[in-house]
Amino acid sequence: MLILTCPCCGVTAEETEFSPGGEAHLKRYGPGSPDRDYESYMFNRKNPRGVHFERWRHTYGCGKWFLAARCTITLEVFGTYRAQTTEPPADIIAAIKARRPEWEGFA
């Protein structure tokens, strides 16, 4: 079972207390943007086999959104962090590198 720690309230709980929200750090495109960009924002996903950055909501706790770095093969969670960022913070990157030296980095 997947266990996550909410960075907003500090509670550590099982996945049933949270709701998954899909890929994090998507670049948003709105009205007036080219169709291809809008498509990539709306539908196309990295869907990696390995390190994945994603959104979660602490639905049955503080109710806040946060982000997590997780391995999609082993479900290992490298860390969780606040949602108010456009890319993963340095300590999360370091934690992933320590566990997955072959990881190519956030792109």
Partner: protein, 415 residues
């Protein structure tokens, strides 16, 4: 290939069964083929089969990183139906269901197709309304389905409890010509027929890269060396994203784990397939007597092939209310498979940004039923380079163009 028949069994019985040969050859990969199909599951093998049968293209290799039919083909709950809502889906799934009816004869291999009937329970007013709409749509599509009342549900499935406090049965969408088939046999039968046409089915051969020149695919790199090809078909279900990455494009697909479980064998108690989509559960009884139970999908991206405990709890809790007799059944096995979900819950059979590279993916939680139809449509796409009438609407560009084939009711969760 020796044909299987009653006569062959009698002949071999007299020879102490020494005359049987391998059902398919296991050659080493050659250096080049007209078409390379990545993925030796049901869909990949069916694609190769119809390439040979319908278009006479037999210089084909089907390669797989694991063993034949070891992915979702060996992990599903074997349900076959075609009661979808939208016209393109109904055409594709109905074609597939129709092909299943004569598949054993076509392949000379018993796929144990059992058109025992598929029932989709309506357990909320919303669901009932949705199925009544599907019934009308199916009538226009010439797919035979019927909305039946609770009394008829009880007659068809005597073990059902109609009056559950949380999940009462308000009726059901009934497709009498749906059913099940033996999932492994479908893959084996196609592999045998492909091998007989001279195609190479190569197991334990993982793709590590896709080579291209001038925007056209030229070869695939594998753990057994580089194999050049004129055309490439990617039919790898849950791992489509990884293959697309190698070919240099992204897909509107996310992979999640879907799980199923099977009970100890019991005496025959249910001779139809029952699906309860509201509660994310569905059940049928195998020929061995096991109750085959399908559950919900995880909500987050994952490639674990194992599933989650709380989903089992949710599925079983709901099914126990609907089928009280299963409350004391012991479960034998539980497993998970990786399914590739698209935004509109419909598959992709499409050209890709890379020339002569074609992809067949996004079947999500319900690919088994489509195995022959998917292969039929994909073979036409590969052979002609352009999609035929079955595949035309399932292009990967439909998301950009806003032409969704919304099947969230028919395909959202349960299959």
């Amino acid at each position: 290939m020796k044909r299987y028949s009653a006569f062959a069994i009698a002949r071999e019985a007299l020879r102490q069964h020494k005359g049987w040969s391998h059902a398919w050859a296991s050659p080493e990969p050659g250096s080049s083929y007209d078409v390379v199909i990545v993925g030796a599951g049901g869909h990949g093998l069916a694609t190769a089969y119809y390439l040979g049968r319908n278009f006479g293209i037999t210089n084909v290799a089907v390669i797989d990183k694991g063993w034949l039919g070891g992915g979702n083909t060996g992990r599903n709950t074997t349900i076959i139906r075609s009661n979808y809502l939208q016209d393109p889906s109904a055409a594709l799934y109905e074609k597939s269901r129709a092909l299943f009816e004569t598949l054993s004869q076509d392949l000379n291999y018993n796929v144990m197709f059992s058109p025992r009937g598929v029932m989709m329970l309506a357990q909320t007013e919303h669901e009932k309304r949705g199925y009544l709409r599907t019934e009308r749509a199916n009538a226009l599509q010439r797919v035979q389905t019927r909305f039946i009342q609770p009394a008829e549900v009880k007659k068809l499935v005597p073990i059902i409890n109609l009056d559950g406090p949380r999940y009462p049965v308000l009726g059901a969408l009934w497709q009498a010509r749906g059913g099940t088939a033996r999932h492994d046999a479908v893959a084996w039968g196609f592999a045998r027929a492909c091998s007989d046409m001279g195609m190479h089915v190569i197991e334990q051969c993982a793709v590590t890269g896709v080579e291209a020149a001038g925007g056209q695919v030229t070869a695939v790199n594998t753990t057994k060396g580089t194999i050049s090809c004129k055309k490439l078909g990617i039919v790898v279900a849950g791992h489509s994203g990884a293959l697309a990455d190698m070919a240099g494009f992204r897909l509107p697909v996310e992979s999640v784990a879907l799980q199923a479980l099977v009970s100890e064998p019991v005496k025959p108690c249910m001779d139809v397939v029952v699906m309860a989509n509201t509660v994310h559960g569905y059940m049928s009884q195998s020929d061995k007597g096991e109750m085959v139970i399908g559950g919900g999908a995880d909500g987050f991206n994952n490639y674990t092939q194992r599933g989650s405990w709380h989903h089992i709890e949710e599925t079983v809790r709901a099914l126990v209310e609907t089928f009280p007799m299963i409350s004391r059944l012991k479960m034998l096995r539980q497993w998970g498979g990786i399914v590739d979900m698209t935004g509109d819950r419909s598959p992709i059979i499409s050209k890709t940004p890379l020339g002569n590279c074609f992809i067949n993916c996004g079947w999500g939680t319900g690919g088994f039923k489509a195995t022959p139809g998917s292969g039929w449509a994909m073979a036409e796409l590969i052979a002609k380079g352009e999609p035929g009438p079955l595949a035309a609407e399932f292009s990967m560009t439909r998301f950009r163009e806003g032409r969704f084939i919304d099947e969230s009711v028919a395909a959202g969760v349960a299959h």
